[in-house]
Amino acid sequence: MNRLKIFSWLFFLQLFCLNAHGQDLRVSASVNKNNITDKDVLIFSVTIEGVRDFPEVPPPESPDFVLISGPSQSSSIQIINGQMNASKTVSWQIAPTRTGQLTINPISIKYRGKIYSTEPVHVNVTTSASSQSRSTPPPSGTPDKQATTGGSEEVFLKAVVPKTTVYKGEELIVSFDLYFKNVRTFGRKKLPDAQGFWREELEAPTQPAITNETVDGIAYRKATIQQIALFATTTGELTIDPMVVDCEVIQPSQRRSIFDDFFGGSFFDDPMFSKTKIVTVQSAPIKIRVKPLPESGQPTSFNGAVGQFKIESKIDTLQIKQDQALTLQYKISGNGNINSIKLPPPDLPNSVEVFDPKIEKKIDKSSGSVRGSVTYEYVLIPRRQGLLTIPALWFSYFDPQTETYRTISTSSFKVKVVGSEDLLSGRSVGLSKTEVSLLGQDIRFIMRENPTWRKSGQTVFSEFWFWLINGFSMLVLIGAITLRWWTEKMESNLNFARRRQAWSKCQSRLRVLQKMVDSAVDEDFYAQLSQAVIGYIADRLGLPLAGLGPKEIEQELSRRAIDSELATKTVKLLEKLDEIRFLPGMTAKQDPKELLSASREIVSALSKVI
């Protein structure tokens, strides 16, 4: 512990001393090769020496070169004879964009206010016969010299697409095939960028299957080392950038000795005994034309899904109690741009409470294509009892294989919602018995017939007929009284009064006579009976009582055209009464009761005619 402390102190002191007398920053730039072909990758390194706190190094900028990867850094501290030498190397992999004598521009490094520059680096780039090896097979008829002679460049990477024209949103599988002869291992250095695409790396097998393939007469071994699925998100010309792979290439022995010939070259060609070399290969960029989806025939329910899909719906129960939760699930599964699928919400009646769906996406990238499913899980709570219909959900997608739009749908559900017992018991507090029985019921249907309209706020009192009828009644009343008053005035004579009082006068007389019949009948009875009848007739007809006998009455009655039978009856009764009155001895033979009732009958008969 103590020793370590001292050591670190010493170390620090030494560094300080170095810093104090050093301060001379040395920068240098270098490349690993000066003569390269136009498809080679160059390692450009900048080395900084002399200081301990290394400044930032900007990347090389040159129009003739393209940056493939980097920067990678390495630093070292060497102490030789007490002299400390610290250095840092920053390196990039760059590739030439053209052939010829190219220059990598100097790099300026700013350190403590001073600017240090590297020297420019010159690189000679030639066109190589094996130049196309990275993107395309070697041109026919010109076998690659290096390849045949066992050169390290006998490996190339090829990006393969099934087609170069796709629809927007269509899945495009890009395979990267490595053609090689003697490669021990490889490492993906840089996955291709693809602007305007949504990229999904497909799962590659850890040990790619190796097949033999002959390219222009040269036998290669081929392995698909990477597959990516691309889904265009815009239209137009898009570029898939190169992929860069480092390969460990087995180099056959350069020294071909007599032993090699002796052993037929087989023994020392064994990779176990060979030297290896890192070769960086890259694929060529690929241009893809992205077409927009056809406008015609696009269904209204289309929402951007491209591929092949199927839809399923699932419901956890078809019978539920009111206010209990129900799970409704829609699942779209298939092959295509699963990630951009959106489902419209189901069209449910507003008696159902719908919660935001739980969306679950599952993407499977192992089968050489993007497959998967999207699940929308809705929680529904029916708030009213009855039959709840969950309508079918329509989903549209574009099938790029047949280049048509397809619309698929789920089945609809009918859910029976029964009244909730809990609700009933919870709410029945304060409800009467009849109200509880109402809880499960629905309102009665509307009335379709409307007999009358009335002006708002108006009652029958503002209707004309009401006042017409009642006004008429009042008029009748007033008219009747006036008429009565007028007639009374006009007839303010005895006759009118006599006529109106005749009945009651006669009746009261007859009542008196009735009493007499019940007790004792005397002579006077017949005279009074005669007077009652004659009086009635006289009053009704307005005749003077004096000198009125049966004869006169007969005349009067016949003059008024009274029913002759009644008239003769009346006259006969009166004559009989006179006879009883004036002829002695007749009284005993008569029955006063019979006479009285006969008189009554006659009077009441007469009252109907006079």
């Binding site: 379709r448 309209w453 009335r454 002006k455 004309f464 017409l468 009828i469």
Partner: protein, 254 residues
């Protein structure tokens, strides 16, 4: 007799004229019914309300409008319209049923004490006929009373003299009773003293000023008695006797 015939003619003519439904109102009513049957309740409400906006009303109209509001869960308006329907067609069992059902959704369930049975009988008797029916009965009774009185007084019809007298006395007494019923109905129909809360919850204040002490809260659909009203505030009394002022915009008169 000739006079009576012309009178009957005039009456039937005027009644006919007034009872004739304007075709436009009928068509709006039918469109509303169709929208209701197609479960397009907001549309149905629009049609029904447009009839009311034209200044016309009827029992079935208020009933259907109440149904439409019930279907869109607007309990306050549903109850208001059922109550209005009950005002115009008091003894309709459908109106009573739906009103009772809608009242179940009202949060303030203030139970009114059951009315005295005589009063209930009286109310039922009153509601046997609508106002028009009572008005017809009154008019007929009055006509009989005055007519028979006039005949009794002036025409000396010997055979009917006694019958006429009892007729005009009894019909006269009856017409006075019916007139009282009619007057009672007129009062309940024109000057409604009841209202319904339309907003979900309204705080009832101690004075007709915003910011005065809150006494209690009434909820949508609650029926109340109107005690007093000024431009913007209405003094209400609930069935259980609680009183307070609420803003006029949150309630409606039946």
């Amino acid at each position: 007799m000739n006079l009576l015939r012309t009178l009957v003619l005039i009456i039937s003519l005027t009644v006919g004229l007034l009872a004739e439904n304007p075709a436009e109102l009928d068509s709006l009513f039918e469109q509303g019914n169709r929208a209701y049957q197609e479960e397009n309740y907001p549309e149905a409400i629009r049609f029904y309300e447009s009839i009311i906006a034209r200044g016309y009303e009827s029992g079935p109209l208020y009933f259907n409008l109440g149904n439409a509001y019930y279907r869109v869960n607007n309990i306050g308006h549903a109850i208001l319209n059922y109550e209005r329907a009950a005002r115009l067609i008091p003894n309709d069992p459908n109106v009573a049923f739906n009103l009772q059902l809608a009242n179940l959704s009202v949060k303030d369930r203030v139970e009114a004490p059951p009315p005295f049975f005589l009063f209930r009988w009286y109310q039922n008797f009153l509601n046997l006929l609508n106002m028009r029916g009572w008005a017809v009965i009154f008019s007929v009774l009055l006509l009989i009373a005055t007519g028979s009185f006039a005949v009794w007084l002036n025409l000396d019809v010997r055979r009917l003299r006694h019958g006429l007298k009892s007729l005009f006395i009894s019909s006269g007494v009856l017409s006075v009773i019916v007139a009282l019923i009619l007057f009672q109905q007129y009062r309940t129909q024109t000057a409604s003293h009841f209202g319904i809360v339309l907003s979900e919850a309204v705080s009832s204040l101690s004075a007709p000023q915003a910011g005065s002490t809150e006494l209690f809260i009434v909820h949508e659909g609650t029926k109340f008695k109107i005690l007093d009203a000024d431009e913007n505030w209405i003094k209400i009394e609930l069935i259980d006797g609680k009183q307070g002022w609420v803003p006029g915009t949150d309630v409606a008169k039946i």
